[in-house]
């Protein structure tokens, strides 16, 4: 039996049923809420571990719910959106959501996102503030200001190192382009985003130099990047 408690917020009965069936089949504990108001109430009374939140609820704007929850809890929130517009997802991520799924999504994808979030949760709960960050073969020594991939020290430019630190500090979370550029360059102009693309490309090349084919950093088209928790 999986220990995690998941709150599913979804107004459409068919999709709610689909998610419930999927979660039950994979031994997750779960609750469902059809409206924003009931979701907020259940979230505060039962304190679930993960929230799956549909953005298009009849009574409340999804981004508003995220803001309210973030006022008192850091529980991972995975946003589910039928809207193809990237701006909705970006708004939700900037408001504090951790990840997103776009309808129509496959069951496989839903489970994959849950596993990622689960790992992130485990990491958040076990790790005490430490000057050393480890993720698979990747190791960052914040105090010394250097990073290793396995035994090999990574030769990073100052910008690449800064970028790596921002990604590592938010491991498992999808970061929007403007969030990253704000952190690294302090702005979000077109040339900042272009710079981000370039440094991210060189950083990834250096990170993939290891023996095994591990993708440390995922791209989310039109949205941003995420460092995977391995």
């Amino acid at each position: 039996m999986n220990k995690l408690l998941i709150l599913v917020v979804e107004d459409d009965p068919a999709i709610r049923n689909l998610m419930a069936t999927t979660l039950k089949a994979h031994n997750y504990r779960f609750m469902t809420a059809p409206t924003g108001a009931s979701a907020l109430m259940q979230a505060s009374t039962t304190q679930p571990d993960i929230m799956l939140l549909d953005l298009g609820l009849p009574d409340m704007d999804g981004v508003e719910i995220i803001r309210k929850i973030r006022a008192w809890s850091q529980m991972p929130i995975i946003v589910i959106s039928a809207r193809a517009e990237d701006t909705d997802k970006i708004d939700a991520l900037d408001a504090g959501a951790d990840d997103y799924l776009t309808k129509p999504f496959s069951v496989e994808e839903l489970l994959a996102r849950l596993r990622v979030t689960q790992r992130r949760l485990a990491f958040m709960q076990t790790s005490t503030p430490s000057p050393i960050f480890t993720n698979g073969a990747l190791k960052i020594d914040y105090a010394a200001g250097c990073a290793w991939l396995g035994e090999q020290e990574l030769h990073l430019t100052p910008m690449e190192y800064k970028l790596l630190c921002v990604m590592a500090q938010n491991v498992g979370k999808v970061l929007t382009l403007s969030f990253i550029t704000q952190k690294v360059w302090g702005g979000s102009t077109e040339s900042d985003i272009a710079s981000l693309r370039v440094f991210m490309a060189t950083l990834r090349k250096k990170l993939s130099a290891g023996k095994e084919e591990v993708q440390y950093i995922q791209t989310h088209i039109g949205v941003g990047y995420r460092m995977q928790k391995l």
């Binding site: 382009l177 077109e190 040339s191 710079s195 693309r197 370039v198 490309a201 088209i221 039109g222």
Partner: protein, 619 residues
């Protein structure tokens, strides 16, 4: 259907102080009827002699009328009633508002009052008369006109000179013993010339009288006295005076007429030029420029055209200062058509002459009309585009609804089978049905993605979400959405970083569609090769397959909407003919090109370009 009669109220402008009340009354009337209002100024001979006070008041009234929503027009002609009636007929006025005109009483042959003349000339008009304190005004007007009655020094000198010259010629004739008739003719000629060269009507009259007196004094017996011995002389004097006066008056009229025709010709020329230039104007801004240019040509003083949308056009005569704040303008004219104000024209410097202001109003009227026409034309164009889009949308909807039936039938039918008789089915059969449901659902998902993209590009550039992207990142991510286990996909990227401005989701859709097509139309196990490299100022992305290729005659049409290979291609399950159409639309929207060529030895290559974006990297 209820027929709405459009009321058009005409009000006459004058310099009379009571005119303001008349204008306000007319405005109320037009408002009450929900109609439009035109303020008409009839320019007559006497308006040229108007005092400054009157001129200013007339301008105030013009401005008042404009403020109350009237469009202002000017016509020229001495017969005021005829001009008003003509204008009312042309402009389809239904009501006319006049201040009460006081008929000069006690004068023989007094002209009929304006209202009566109007009733005769335009019996179909409703005439409203607004009472006023006209008596006072009448007197004041007389005193105002008197200022101009005194002749100028130049006129006096010309008159005296002409008389002196006539007298001198008379003396010569006398010495040569010509008859008196010759001398009389010389005097009459003098009066004629005086009338032609002086501006004041009094000059010719005075000169006629003085001519008779001089003739009497110098050339009749007894000479050098005002007496005359011969009994026929009084008659001669009377005849002489009469013909002199008549000649003078006729000559005056002639001079007037010449002046008026010159002005009319000039006015016509300016207006014609304006009309021609307005005809060539491409947009509203051009129209405003033409108006400003023409007004500068007409008035030769600083002009400021202020538009309702905030645009301002300034024009200066050469050598004038460049700064002209709107507050210092001496006159402001609103600029409108069809009841909608487009902006204001500000004129600097002295008050305008009536002729100038007449032309100015005509130019503004033309300009307003031109703008209104332009707007109407644009609205029509937009409506046409909208109708075309609507047509396209309807076609799309029809075609889609039709083609949706097949997968939906398969999904609902298979699900129904499983629900009703799933129990007794073999596991393998069940699996087959479930696979079909899954595949059809996936097909529908792809279709919906494409449709969403089509609506997005249908709305033009505004909806594009352009960001700088790494092309190989976009390709790699797109390939994650292509589910194929049957076709190995190879990628080959340039070493350099290929950055481009794009809507990543749409470009990703292009790659997915192209790769999906390659998977769909090539036999299992055949390789698909994707590459991206820089080519001059562009990035070239190629998707190559090893299928049977596309026949040459089909190549030009593969990007058409709703074009499907119609079973010519093996294993063609179904296709809406939207995928490649969408690819082309998206790539073109990004300023690139998409092409299809043959691959060697077999297969085809779809290649598209995207502009390279030059960026500065912030270290």
């Amino acid at each position: 259907m209820k027929r709405v009669i459009h009321e058009h109220v005409l009000v006459c402008l004058s310099s009379a102080p009571s005119n303001a009340n008349t204008i306000r009354a007319a405005a109320k009337l037009s408002q009450a009827f929900g109609g439009t209002m035109t303020a008409l100024y009839v320019q007559t001979k006497s308006s040229d002699q108007m005092g400054t006070e009157d001129r200013r008041r007339l301008q105030r009234h013009t401005r008042l009328a404009e403020k109350l929503g009237a469009s202002v027009s000017t016509v020229a002609g001495d017969d005021v009633a005829f001009q008003i009636a003509e204008y009312a007929r042309i402009s389809k006025a239904t009501k006319i508002v006049l201040g009460r005109s006081v008929a000069p009483k006690g004068r023989l042959f007094a002209p009929k009052p304006l209202t009566e003349q109007l009733v005769e000339l335009a019996p179909y008009l409703d005439i409203y008369i607004i009472p006023d304190s006209a008596g006072k005004n009448q007197r004041r007007r007389n005193s105002a006109t008197k200022q101009r009655i005194l002749p100028s020094i130049r006129d006096v000198l010309i008159t005296i000179g002409m008389l002196a010259l006539s007298t001198a010629i008379g003396f010569v004739f006398h010495r040569l013993h010509f008859t008196e008739a010759n001398t009389i003719t010389v005097y009459i000629l003098g009066v004629l010339l005086t009338a032609l060269f002086t501006k004041n009507y009094m000059c010719s009259g005075i000169s006629a009288l003085a001519g008779v007196l001089l003739f009497n004094f110098f050339f009749t017996e007894p000479r050098l006295s005002f007496r005359a011995y011969a009994s026929g002389y009084p008659m001669t004097f009377a005849m002489m005076l009469f013909s002199s006066l008549l000649t003078g008056t006729l000559a005056n009229r002639l001079a007037d007429h010449v002046k008026r025709s010159t002005q009319t010709a000039w006015r016509t020329q300016v207006l014609l030029e304006t009309t021609q230039q307005l005809g060539q104007a491409e947009n509203e801004n051009d129209i405003l420029e033409v108006i400003a240019d023409q007004l500068l040509k007409l008035l030769n003083r600083p002009i400021l055209v202020q538009c309702k949308n905030g645009a301002a056009i300034r024009r200066f005569p050469e050598g004038e200062p460049v700064e002209i704040p709107p507050e210092t303008a001496s006159q402001r004219f609103s600029f409108q058509s069809g009841g909608e104000a487009f902006g204001d024209v500000l004129v600097y410097g002295d008050a305008l002459e009536p002729l100038e202001s007449g032309i100015l109003h005509s130019i503004l009227g033309e300009g307003g009309l031109a703008i209104e026409n332009r707007r109407n034309a644009r609205q029509k164009e937009e409506a046409a585009v909208l109708a075309k889009n609507e047509q396209l949308r309807a076609n799309l909807l029809r075609s889609i609804s039709h083609d949706l039936r097949t997968p939906l039938t398969s999904i609902s039918g298979n699900a129904e089978n499983l629900l009703t008789s799933g129990e007794g089915m073999e596991e393998a059969d069940k699996r087959k049905l479930l696979t079909d449901i899954y595949e059809d659902a996936i097909w529908l998902i792809r279709l919906v993605e494409n449709l969403l993209s089509i609506t997005k590009i249908g709305e033009g550039n505004a909806r594009l979400n352009m960001t700088t992207e790494l092309v190989d990142e976009v390709i790699t991510e797109s390939l994650r959405h292509v589910h194929t286990k049957t076709h190995p996909i190879e990628t080959e990227f340039a070493d350099e970083l290929l950055l481009s401005q794009m809507d990543a989701r749409l470009v990703s859709q292009v790659i997915i569609n192209l790769v999906d097509n390659a998977v769909k139309y090539t036999p299992e196990g055949s390789k698909i090769h994707i590459s991206a490299r820089k080519q001059g100022k562009e990035i070239l992305v190629r998707v190559a397959d090893h299928g049977s290729g596309i026949p040459d005659e089909m190549k030009p049409r593969v990007f058409d909407m709703f074009y499907t290979g119609n079973g010519k291609i093996a294993d063609c399950r179904r296709s809406l003919g939207l995928g490649l159409y969408l690819c082309k639309a998206i790539i073109n929207l990004h300023g690139g090109e998409i092409t299809v060529t043959d691959h060697t030895p077999t297969g085809c290559i779809f290649a598209f370009t995207l502009p390279v974006s030059e960026v500065t990297i912030n270290e």
